[in-house]
Symmetry: C2
Subunit: 266 residues, 2 copies
């Protein structure tokens, strides 16, 4: 299947089960988001966690309780149907993979959409900066650091980072380009020695695939969207829903010069 350029069209295909793959590389130029759905009882504290930790949790949008739409991200957008696959977590530790949330939807659910690194990686590739894990067909390596997040109520935990390695000259350009996309995690949080942020086994990341480095490369570490997932696990809500990794919520918000509520529908 060829690439789909229009985010609204892609959401319709996903809704109709005509598109059921990762959204990587689709709807280029538009922000994609991590999805987090929590009961209203936890929503205020999780909102506080995002506001306290904008680098790992750049907020693209929040729904009203029970509502499945977030008009600022896309006029027709339906949280419960527009992600190819969801993960539904129960407090008992069950994890279900579902393609539609309609059967588990509740009137007290609040949806949070959090920026992800896809649009930033797109801008690296447009600038002809090699993104080594993509070229190697791997997932990005992600590490748990010794940097604490700022807790909010029951939400707490360490900062998780993703790592991309570059030649020093490309690392400088990647830092500058990523700083221009604060809704895609912004500038990195660390460069160089992994041990300085508590990474003990660089070759074996906690999440994703092992790192890819060329001789002379310098590792660059960005705040990662897995950070809120660890904080949610620590908070222990009775239900939590996220997207399946790589299967993101595609929005109508242009990635460059993004300004929520001005670019999208009404």
């Amino acid at each position: 299947m060829s690439r789909i350029h229009d985010p609204a069209q892609l959401r319709r295909l996903i809704r109709d089960k005509s598109f059921d793959r990762p959204t990587t590389g689709q709807a280029g130029g538009y922000l994609q988001g991590n999805l987090v759905v929590l009961p209203k009882r936890f929503a205020d504290d999780f909102l506080g966690f995002c506001v306290n930790n904008p680098k790992p949790c750049p907020l693209l949008g929040v729904s009203r309780p029970g509502e499945r739409g977030i008009a600022t991200l896309g006029e027709d957008l339906d949280i419960a149907t527009d992600v190819p696959f969801y993960r539904v977590f129960s407090r008992e530790g069950r994890r279900d993979r579902v393609a539609d949330l309609s059967n588990v939807w509740r009137d007290d659910l609040v949806s949070f959409v959090i920026g992800c690194s896809f649009s930033f990686e797109e801008s690296l590739q447009r600038a002809r900066i090699p993104v080594r894990h993509i070229e190697a067909g791997r997932n990005v390596p992600m590490y748990v650091t010794n940097i604490p997040t700022r807790a909010s109520g029951p939400f707490h935990g360490p900062l998780v980072v993703s790592m991309r390695a570059f030649s020093p000259a490309d690392a400088i350009r990647a830092i500058v380009l990523s700083d221009r996309q604060p809704l895609a995690h912004g500038a990195p949080v660390h460069i160089g020695d992994p041990a300085q942020i508590g990474i003990k086994d660089f070759d074996n990341p906690e999440f994703g695939d092992p790192p890819v480095l060329e001789p002379g490369d310098i590792p660059v570490f960005w705040a990662c969207g897995v950070t809120p997932q660890m904080a949610i696990h620590n908070a222990g809500p009775d239900i939590a829903i996220t997207h399946e990794p790589g299967h993101m919520l595609v929005t109508d918000v242009p990635a460059e010069g993004a300004s929520i509520g001005l670019n999208a529908a009404h």
Copy 2:
């Protein structure tokens, strides 16, 4: 003597010999420039050298032959009197230190004003990023690299870089802040291992003072205004005039959002 905030007032004091010290820290918020004065015969090639190498040679202004003013940098500005001390180089290798160029001025001299790192270091300090050589009361260390410049006529030579060391988190901020000041050398050209750009003896820079590093620091290298001086030496004009290091030409151009010809007088 207290700080002088107004660049035009500072130039008047320099012109009257009432201010004869380095201009570091004076007229905060305004661009200061390296001065290069060459005979017209060499001017086109040197202009080409600056255009070919904008990181070491960000052009703030160029005079017409024989003219001592550059109105876009300051309405009243007089190249021949408004720098505290000049260096006058002859082809025979003589170097004179003079406080006024009136006696050596010629009708064929063309003046080039090239951005320097002062305004960038100011913005680091405003962002509370420690600039170690300033805190240690030292000059910045400068190194000859194995990176060639793009030659223009007789002007050629290696890229010279200045080095500032930071904690990794501050290095990221310094990269982002410096990128916003393309007229003050812009983003760095290298980070990390000095040997990768041909620096063999990091503790003994070719110019300036030895480096100051704290544990865990990462060295960051910016293109440096000494680069054109080496290229001028290689070109061998019969006369060349520069500012005495630290004694810069102070302009009316605001450092932030600088746009030559729009901000300054008419």
